[in-house]
Amino acid sequence: MDNAYDGLTDAGEEKHWAFGTGFTAALAGVDRAIPDADRDSLTAYCLMLGDDALIYSQRLAEWCSRAPELEEDVALANIALDLLGQARLLLSRAAEIEGVGRDEDALAYLRDEREFRNVRLAEIDCGPGPGGDFGTTIARLLIFSTWRLAVFQRLVTSADPVLAAVAAKGIKELAYHRDHAAQWVLRLAGGTEYSRERIVAGLDRVWAFTEELFATHRVEAALPGIAVDPASARAEFDQVIDTVLNAAGLDRPQVKQVAALAGQAGRDGVHTAAMGFLLAELQHIARSMPGARW
């Protein structure tokens, strides 16, 4: 044990390390056949689901070293990592279907704002930045994970075997995320007067972006049997949210929705002002050093 460190120069030799170098690929053994469907629509659909996870993960990771308690630093980072993992699988699948030689990094780092297809709920600042706080963060986690879990539960039977496998893996993660959020909603609603105000304000803020989550997009409509129509997940979402809110003694938020622009919103690359800044930060090193290897 005194020389845990000796083998470092021999980076090719696995046995020198405390753990093996290789991790089993998350979808090892999964059939990667591309189903018979419109390629552009299928690529776009993978990007939608992948971008939701990538952009929300970027936001959640902002909490790292800023959470109210160490346990929460660990939990939020864990959720961000799960979503980043989902994003990587989905962007890789999008690249594979697109078939023009791009990979997950080209899609994450070299697309512009108008090409990102995430819902706006994923990108808004809900804290620790000035746009929110821990209450808003928990409110978004509840809404996002409840919605995504309901969608993924329907995606496990997708005719795209990769999407089905991503969903099967993801539902275990998302169930934990939803549970974590629901427990905090109860604590904040039932804790102090102030914490109750914060979770109510947080829910009001994020609720304005819920309609967008359930609007059927033409890409989804073009992929019957492959994509999930999010409208089909609405009843389950409502039921879960009502259960959590009832347990917390909270009413469902009554707020105005943030409308689409001529029918277009995040799924069509129409984003909020926050998105450009988020991407500037995410992409700047990769873009400022073309040809670099990481």
């Binding site: 845990a4 470092l8 790292c64």
Partner: protein, 307 residues
């Protein structure tokens, strides 16, 4: 047999001291101080690298870095838990940290200027930490030793990932190779400083060695680190910024130059490039989160009363 003699025999026989065992007050106080400083170092250490999570240049690197910084929070948790077995209170230790009454490793008072620093911190800073910490897996206090086994396994993994990033960057563009060399130039000396003052200046070493809290002196560990790092630097293709660094066949070790002890003490005393901002960041997180912790406590109390 009196308690003190029994304690001394336990320690001398390399057996572990456990929380319920009798121990001298000085032993308890030394351990609380050391474990708390170690825990604080993990928590403050989240910042210099955490700074790069949002900008990591590939998704794989982002996942690796986020997981690493998350591990550091986990290490802080195990270590605070180990300190609590000695009667310390985590909330009080945190107060001491943000009021500047307890220290953390000075290395985290240096800034991270480029993404190469993420790799060099993994290679050199985590490497130096491993040299310091592997002997602690056999330290005399049981809960600390057991926490360190897990910490060391994860640190070894971090070091490897840092080195692997540097190897990749060295195979990239000329600009990347220059970034790596620049980063090594900035981190080499602060890494050597991580082993603390020279043995002649180290006030705590002697008693800690008798108590088997420490098992090697600062200078022994520093030498070991230098000897390990030289071949790694060669393999990587970087130059360590010390013209006096040379193999000494008579000693069977590398000779190396003198640390800038003025800078060392300046940073220890709080005048490093980032001392103020590291503490301010921790304080802000702690204060911003106060209402959340209060809510959780109030909620738990209400649940208890209702039960």
């Amino acid at each position: 047999m009196d308690l003190e003699r029994q304690f001394e025999q336990t320690v001398a026989a390399d057996h572990r001291v456990e929380p319920r065992d009798w121990m001298p007050d000085g032993y308890r106080a030394t351990l609380i101080r050391q474990i708390a400083q170690h825990a604080h170092s993990e928590i403050i250490g989240m910042q210099p690298e955490g700074n790069w999570i949002s900008r990591a240049p590939s998704l794989r690197r982002k996942a690796v870095l986020l997981a690493k910084v998350q591990d550091e929070a986990g290490h802080g948790l195990y270590l605070y838990a180990a300190a609590e077995t000695l009667g310390a209170d985590r909330a009080e230790l945190t107060e001491k940290l943000i009021e500047g009454r307890q220290k953390y490793s000075s290395i985290f008072n240096y800034p991270t200027l480029t993404y190469a620093d993420v790799g060099v911190i993994g290679w050199l800073v985590d490497g130096a930490a491993i040299c310091n910490q592997v002997p602690l897996c056999r330290t005399s206090y049981g809960p600390y030793a057991r926490a360190m086994i897990r910490v060391c396994k994860e640190e070894s993994f971090h070091q490897r990932q840092g080195y692997e990033l540097l190897m990749t960057m060295m195979s990239g563009t000329r600009q990347q190779r220059e970034m790596v060399q620049d980063s090594v130039n900035r981190w080499w000396w602060p890494s050597l400083m991580m082993f603390g003052p020279s043995d002649a200046e180290s006030s705590n070493t002697e008693q800690s060695m008798v108590w088997r809290i420490k098992r090697h002196t600062n200078d022994e560990l520093r030498q070991r680190f230098v000897d390990m790092s030289v071949p790694q630097a060669e393999k990587l293709g970087v130059t360590l910024p010390d013209p006096a660094l040379v193999w000494n066949p008579d000693r069977g070790h590398h000779d190396f130059g003198e640390i800038d002890w003025t800078e060392f003490w300046q940073v220890v005393k709080g005048e490093g490039p980032c001392n103020a901002e590291r503490i301010a960041h921790r304080r802000k997180a702690h204060e911003d989160g106060a209402w959340v912790r209060e809510a959780a406590t109030a909620y738990a109390r209400k649940k208890e009363q209702a039960a």
